[in-house]
């Protein structure tokens, strides 16, 4: 069923692009590559690893393993309106409803045979404790080997060396399962693609900073986190270039993402994954645009293709959801300055301890750079308690407040 879904998606987009090249857009290219990844995941032919969020996807690509973080499936089930059934399945099996719904959806999907059997699992201790728990359960469910990457909180030399060593051990673990040794040449090639993609993604984000911004809320939704799945491949570069070119053209043509842009918003952590009209409401009613997402940033330096493990380790440590909250706040404040943000929205995804547990200090930190934060109470995956009316009221009040205080950036 899932293979069918992704296959139809791939064929549909390919047909459109072939028959009507004018329809070619950055979002379509991106959707195509994501659908192709989905098709490979469910093909039953590829070597497959289910992973944690910050696994080194370029290393896995270089080793011929199709890989994906499991939360992607949780988000996809939510986006297609199918999450409730799987959440219920997990809850019926005893997984508490007050845990992260990305994880519950995945556990439910695993139990209902909707997750293809992988060759092995790779858990990552960042961004969250719940993530390791779900991988341990999945490994037991599928009776497959589990490798755990412990991601330290800081990038001091000992921590980087430790994670780099773990990644070397991971390569050995993968080799043992695939029977293929790691080719350092292939890894260097993959890392070169990652570096090129990261450089172009940085350009994309710099273009998004433009006032008015060339982006609308949908353009870069989930972009940074999902694009990581393409790292190590030429597709990562192609997709990033398509975004860059689209935004550059919009700026050149004076076509902002949200016509009449008035309010520039920063979205904290993940977007709401199921269909909702919050973004439309913001853009159409208030000319407010989500110009920046916390996770849309390149927080790491180029990786040395000749000695890639330390650079890959630093990359994993650098993600905004890892490390002490001070670092996270610093990054958010920096984004606020770069993007000339008027206000930030934190969905406070129910069940995410690492994220919601930081909400007070995040709000205080952004207040110090004169950026108010709207803390919502929403489960980004589980629609069952979603109260759109209440959301709209709170967002409307927040935007009105932002309008009344004027532009903090002059």
């Amino acid at each position: 069923m899932m293979f069918q879904y992704f296959d139809t998606l791939v064929t549909g987009i390919e047909n459109v692009l072939e028959n009507d090249p004018s329809q070619k857009s950055h979002r379509k290219l991106y959707a195509l590559e994501v659908a192709r990844l989905g098709r490979r995941l469910y093909s039953g032919t590829d070597r497959l690893a289910w992973c944690g969020v910050v696994a080194p996807f370029d290393l896995l690509a270089a080793m011929g393993v199709t890989s994906c973080f499991v939360e992607f499936i949780g988000a996809m089930l939510a986006a297609t309106g199918a999450s409730s059934e799987f959440l219920k399945e997990a809850e019926d099996a005893g997984f508490a409803p007050d845990t992260c719904a990305y994880h519950r959806a995945v556990l439910g999907a695993g139990r209902k045979g909707m997750m293809p059997e992988p060759d092995f699992f790779i858990a990552t201790s960042a961004p969250c404790t719940g993530g390791i728990g779900v991988m341990e359960n999945m490994a037991a469910m599928f009776k497959k080997d589990l490798f755990v990457l412990n991601i330290p909180q800081n990038d001091d030399p000992a921590s980087v060396a430790y994670l780099a060593d773990q990644m070397r051990s991971l390569a050995d673990f993968v080799s043992r399962h695939t029977g293929q040794p790691l080719s350092m040449n292939r890894l260097a090639e993959a890392v070169t693609y990652s570096n090129r993609a990261a450089a172009v993604m940085s350009e994309v984000y710099r273009l998004a900073e433009h006032v008015p911004s060339p982006v609308c809320a949908k353009d870069l939704r989930n972009f940074g986190i999902v694009a990581a799945l393409l790292l190590g491949t030429p597709q990562a570069v192609t997709v990033a270039e398509a975004f860059r070119d689209a935004f550059a053209a919009r700026i050149a043509n004076n076509t902002p993402g949200v016509p009449g842009e008035k309010i520039r918003l920063l979205w904290i952590q993940n977007r709401v994954q199921f269909k909702n009209n919050l973004e439309d409401l913001l853009e159409n009613e208030f000319h407010a645009c989500i110009v920046a997402d916390e996770l849309n940033d390149v927080t790491w330096d180029p990786i040395d293709p000749a000695d890639p493990f330390p650079g890959m380790a630093k990359r994993a440590i650098s993600i905004p959801l890892n490390g002490p909250v001070e670092r996270r706040v610093k990054h958010l404040a920096d984004m606020a300055r770069r993007y000339k943000i008027h206000g930030a929205i934190n969905p406070c995804h129910f069940g995410c301890r690492q994220g919601t547990g930081a909400r007070g200090l995040v709000a205080l930190g952004l207040k110090q750079v004169n950026v108010p934060v709207l803390n919502l109470e929403v489960d980004c995956v589980d629609t069952r308690n979603y109260a759109p009316g209440q959301m709209h009221t709170r967002i409307a009040a927040f935007i009105e407040m932002l309008e009344n205080r004027g532009n903090p950036w002059g």
Binding site: G133, Y162, P324, R353, T356
Partner: protein, 353 residues
């Protein structure tokens, strides 16, 4: 209790290297989440859906009900603990606060890294006014730790035999005292208790159960189980036996290496696991229940604790397969929340009879 000469080292997690604090000439001080009626303010910094252990520890700190600390040591045990570390520094900037990486597994890369983290902490403690830790000092503290663990083992055995007056509730009081005293005082107190003759304490007619979970430090809460007819035949709580329980130190002469092995080899909290044996936590619960000849298993887990919530379905299933009755209590570390569960505990015990 805390004379001016004591250098208090605050902590909140059972994985804290207490022997290192002792070797630095410091007195461990466990910031327990019970003992005061603090205003509930933690949600403003954290979120209401964070584990009540962490919230209550923060409430306590926000209410100023923590003595002057020379240092406060946090372990990287889980998301909630990381956020507590962040919030603590925001509300008590005057504290010297340290954060120690704690690998979730004890694999070949993790052990040396943890050794390194412990060595770094030793240096930080010395900079914060602690004594410099040399090998001999640390070895002495390791011996003291192990001795405390053995003495506590003996007291547990007496509780099981029904020959320790005050039973498990008194033992819990002792655990709490051990968590916030110099090792030397703890050794002396435990030694005196063990030397005292055994006395019949009357736990006849109670049904043996295994009690496991995380944070339940209130002796009255522990007493409640007995009042409901349970004999705690074995217990695995992070505010109970697990604090001083120690793994095998191994054969490495480096005491830091021994310390790392003893900590990573402790009976695991759900946040630590063996990646080569997924969900072995559930099998460990089963084998402890069998060893204790428990008629049933009671879990007391604080709400919103992701490490436990992720492993409880496996525990339930493993016990179900072996037809061992299981009762799950979710609480907020306090007697109050457990008191509400009294009827459920009584009904469970009734069923076990």
């Amino acid at each position: 209790m805390n004379g001016p000469q004591l250098k208090l080292a605050g902590f909140a997690c059972a994985y804290t290297p207490l022997a290192l604090l002792d070797a630095a000439g410091m007195t461990p001080f466990r910031v327990l989440p019970v003992g005061g009626d603090w205003p509930d303010q933690a949600g403003t910094l954290l979120h209401d859906n964070i584990c009540p252990h962490v919230k209550r520890v923060l409430n306590r700190a926000m209410a100023g009900d923590v003595p002057e600390l020379s240092v406060m040591v946090f372990m990287n045990s889980c998301d909630a603990m990381r956020r507590l570390y962040d919030a603590w520094r925001a509300i008590r900037p005057q504290d010297r606060t340290f954060f120690v990486e704690l690998p979730p597994t004890a694999d070949e890369n993790a052990v040396p890294y943890f050794v390194n983290a412990l060595k770094r902490l030793a240096g930080e403690l010395a900079e914060a006014g602690g004594d410099p830790i040399d090998q001999a000092r640390l070895l002495n503290s390791l011996v003291a730790w192990k001795t405390i663990a053995n003495l506590q083992d003996e007291l547990r055995a007496r509780v099981r035999r029904g020959s320790f007056p005050g039973g498990p509730a008194r033992l819990q009081e002792i655990y709490n005292q051990c968590a916030s005293r110099p090792f030397s005082d703890t050794l002396a107190a435990l030694d005196a208790l063990v030397r005292a003759p055994e006395e019949a304490a009357g736990n006849k007619g109670l049904v043996p159960v295994l009690l496991f979970g995380n944070v339940l430090p209130d002796p009255e809460a522990i007493a409640l189980f007995e009042q409901c007819g349970a004999k705690i035949a074995d217990e695995d709580l992070c505010t109970g036996s697990r604090l001083f329980a120690a793994g095998d130190p191994g054969t490495d002469p480096d005491p830091f290496r021994q310390l790392a092995s003893m900590i990573l080899g402790k009976p695991p909290c759900a946040r630590t696991f063996d990646s080569s044996a997924p969900l072995s936590f559930a099998r460990n619960v089963l084998s402890r229940a069998r060893q204790a000849e428990a008629a049933g298993v009671i879990a007391h887990v604080v709400k919103f604790c992701d490490p436990y919530l992720a492993r409880l379905p496996a525990v339930r299933e493993t016990l179900r397969q072996q037809q061992i009755p299981f009762l799950l209590l979710e609480g907020d570390c306090t007697l109050g929340s457990l008191g509400q569960a009294r009827t459920r505990i009584e009904a469970f015990m009734e069923m076990l009879r």
